[in-house]
């Protein structure tokens, strides 16, 4: 029987002990004496969040297919256990073997959002691994980071020995082989890192130095070793239908956020919304073959026993075989009594028909993401959604019996005016009015419910808005207040509910998103002051962050509200995500002129991703006989 790292007394006094025991269905057990490399894969947040992440399941499955490696999982202990572990000096352990992380060969950490940076330090600290790469010794695990935030790894680069840039499926085998070679022929940490720095997609922060201008912007980067690249290109899977996919994902005992089979139908997005980082990072869009997906779906449902399946992608409506795939799923899931959870689809006759089949219309709501209230603003952000399209979708939906509509907007977009914000309220009002026009009195079951939510816009690296100024906290709150009062002034205001986000965390997220190496010290200071779980509003301590900035002599406004010139060298410019800076700058200028750019399916705009020779770039618009945009 497996022995647990934590004593009964501890497990019985923490919330949800099932977070720490492992042993779930499809968890992979291996004999540790029969593997060469032990890999701990970490999502630095609580179990229920980490277990819901597809990327970790992909890596877990892939690495465990390698016979010589055992990949185990580790998540952030929740705050209750965190305190006990510190008090009693209990080292952080992996779920499968329950062995201490510090005895592993690798600790891989996926970095999915900026607000998890202090949790990275929590994981390292509880593991007993020195927080700074520079302080680690020969026996410490190699700490490697990956995930979307590594497209600007500089704010946390001191905590990592290696950063893997891009999609994990392609380069891990090479890295593991290199590690084994060094283990066999005499281990030397520094030599290994130097050699790893020459592998495609691998960035070794300690081997580079950054020189700053007097105004604190980046002047240049210097490679401290011969033969290591000054630019690091992202890794990318060219053929998504022939690669790793977790057909036996781990099935948690606990109810986790994503408690269902997740089918990733495509990677990337053709749309090119100018605020969206994922839309640039994962170019070009690559589809999975529908036959492969059908097989995956059945296999995964069988292997997990999940009662629900969901499609995953950035924009599922753009998947060319969507009707075929959905009709297959609807048919095969009905007999198995499997629910289909639909991703946000563009609302049109097709998607309403599908929703009608798989959801209870009375209970479900429709989601539109216009992102901005005015057409002018939607052109600036290149969101190709017009009021006519929204109204047509809403009208069809109201006729079909839906009465609940969710609308997502962003506040603080570049060049936003008071009128643009007021248009948010007008749009909500018009949709509510449309309901009363469309549905005759005798057929109404009550009031239409419009829920409008706004988030604050945060400029991200590798987007056309990476040059944009971010709003201050006060500006954000003013905009939210204006939205609220505008909605309150509308005729149908009683049918409209308005939610907005907190502003403090958005400011910090913005600092981290476009930060540089000097932020390592700030994160470290904030962590030492007790900041963890910053992504959880009940644990976010803004005052501690502010004093950390002050102690380090760093002005957060430098990263957010400062105006950036067109020719500024950004801290992340040494990475190559496939999309050229020239293209992004062109898009930034077009945004200023309120000009839109067609999507990849209808016309190539020359972003640079065509060099990969795959996906939409080679399959081209003619595949679907072109698309009217």
């Amino acid at each position: 029987m497996r022995k647990l790292a934590l004593k009964d007394e501890i497990l019985l006094q923490v919330e949800k002990p099932a977070r720490y025991i492992g042993g779930e269905v499809n968890a992979v057990m291996k004999d540790k004496d029969r593997v060469d490399v032990r890999f701990a894969m970490c999502f630095p947040d609580v179990y229920e969040i980490g277990m819901s992440h597809l990327g970790i399941q992909i890596i877990y499955d892939m690495v465990n297919q390698f016979e010589d490696v055992w990949c185990e999982r580790v998540y952030s202990p929740w705050v209750d256990l965190d305190q006990i572990m510190r008090r009693e000096n209990i080292p952080l352990f992996a779920l499968e073997s329950q062995d201490p992380i510090r005895d592993f060969d690798f600790l891989g950490i996926t970095i999915q959002y900026e607000m998890c940076y202090t949790n990275i330090l929590q994981v390292l600290d509880l593991s007993g691994i020195p927080l700074l790469s520079a302080e680690r010794g020969e026996k410490d695990p190699i700490v490697i980071g990956g995930g979307p935030c590594t497209y600007n790894p500089e704010p946390f680069c001191d905590f990592f020995d290696l950063i893997y840039v891009g999609e994990a499926e392609t380069r891990y085998r090479d890295l593991l082989d290199l590690y084994k070679e060094y283990k066999k022929n005499g281990w030397n940490r520094r030599d290994f890192l130097k050699k790893a720095a020459k592998l495609p997609g691998i960035y070794v922060p300690s081997l580079y130095q950054v020189v700053y201008n007097e105004d604190k912007t980046v002047k240049e980067r210097i490679a401290l070793e011969e033969g290591i690249p000054l630019t690091i290109e992202k890794e990318l899977v060219k053929d998504l239908s022939h690669t790793y996919y977790p057909l036996k994902p781990v099935v948690p005992f606990l109810q986790v956020t994503q408690d269902r089979v997740v089918l990733e139908i495509q990677r990337g997005c053709i749309r090119g919304c100018r605020f969206c980082q994922a839309g640039q990072l994962y170019r070009p869009v690559r589809e999975r073959n529908p036959e492969v997906l059908k097989h995956y779906a059945l296999e995964m449902l069988q292997n997990t026993g999940h009662e629900e399946i969901s499609l995953s992608s950035l924009s599922s409506s753009d998947y060319s075989a969507l009707p075929e795939l959905l009709s297959f799923l609807i048919e095969s899931c009905a007999e198995k009594r499997i629910n289909i959870s639909l991703p946000s689809l563009r609302i049109d006759a097709f998607s309403l028909d599908v929703m009608n089949k798989v959801q209870d219309v009375k209970k479900s709501s429709l989601t539109f993401a216009p992102e901005a209230g005015s057409q002018r603003m939607r052109n600036i952000i290149n969101k190709g959604l017009t009021e006519e399209v929204i109204f047509e979708g809403a009208r069809l939906a109201f006729e079909g019996g839906w009465t609940r509509v969710k609308l997502y907007f962003m506040l603080g977009l570049p060049m936003e005016t008071t009128e643009d914000i007021q248009e948010i309220a007008h749009l909500c009002n018009k949709i509510a009015a449309l309901y009363y026009e469309t549905v005759p009195k005798e057929k109404r079951t009550g009031r239409v419910q419009i829920v409008a939510s706004t988030s604050f816009f945060i400029p991200k690296p590798f987007t056309p808005f990476q040059w944009a100024r971010q709003c201050t906290k006060e500006e954000f709150l003013e905009k939210a207040y204006l939205t609220r009062t505008s909605i309150a002034g509308e005729l149908n205001q009683k049918s409209i509910k308005y939610n907005w986000h907190e502003a403090d965390a958005s400011v910090l997220e913005g600092v981290m998103a476009r930060g540089d190496r000097r932020l390592n010290q700030v994160i470290l200071t904030a962590y030492k002051k007790g900041c963890i779980y910053d992504a959880w509003s009940e644990y976010y301590q803004n005052d501690k962050w502010l004093s950390a900035f002050e102690e380090c002599g760093i002005d957060p406004d430098f990263y957010t509200v400062r105006k950036r010139e067109d020719d500024e060298l950004f801290p992340w410019d040494f990475l190559d995500c496939g999309v050229s800076k020239k293209f992004l700058l062109k898009e930034w200028h077009k945004a200023q002129r309120e000009e839109i750019t067609p999507n990849c399916q209808s016309q190539c705009s020359g972003c640079g991703a065509m060099r990969y020779g795959c996906g939409v770039c080679v399959e081209g618009p003619e595949r679907r006989g072109g698309e009217v945009s």
Binding site: L11, L12, E24, F253
Partner: protein, 252 residues
Amino acid sequence: MKVRIRFSKYGVLRFIGHLDVMRYFQKAIRRSGIAIAYSEGFSPHQIMSFAAPLSVGHTSEGEYLDIQVTSFPGEEALKDMLEAVMVEGISILDVQLLPSGEKNAMASVAAASYLIAFRQGTSLPSDWQERLLAFYNQASIPVVKKAKKSEREINLKEGIYGLEIRKGAFADREEVLPDGVYMLLNARSGENIKPAFVLESFFKTLDYELPPFALLVHRLETYKERGEDEPGADAASRPYDTRKLVPLIWGK
């Protein structure tokens, strides 16, 4: 057709709560291929009933659930199908096709038996064994039972159907004291008595407070009241004959 399943819960799975055990079985039954029946309506759910919830931290060899199936492959075959998809920590022990008209597992529960151990290092009052028996042998044991919102006085004696000291029951286990306690307690919905409550009530009379996490509770069996036409057991294998208690799987 209704089928009753007996299972054990042991090892690390004692940290999985009742709701998660229910979810676990829902998924396990889907993996197993057992033809379970579903309820009607827009979001059909599996027709399934669990006997008595087990507290987090307790182990058991007397857990039960009922499922309704649309085709029945035989008791052994169904047991094998389900056992094949279990994880370490839950084992399928027995399966019985229920006669029609049998009440479901949850409604059937009348009592449960437990074996309780004390964690090593618990310094119990020296003559606790004798005094526990004396406590139990009183004609009436008035105690205050706290529910979520209310407090009420009950006669604990009425909820304890049997109590024995099991001398040396755990002599071979290092992590606990050698002597254990066996209890047969009312487990009916709304009247359930927890074994820890009995011991805490007892030690309170000695002015002794058990340290936290001192008890290791293992459920041995869950009982129902046998029907008029159901056969009784021979006296030796029946726990407390006067109450007509038989295990939830009975008369196979």
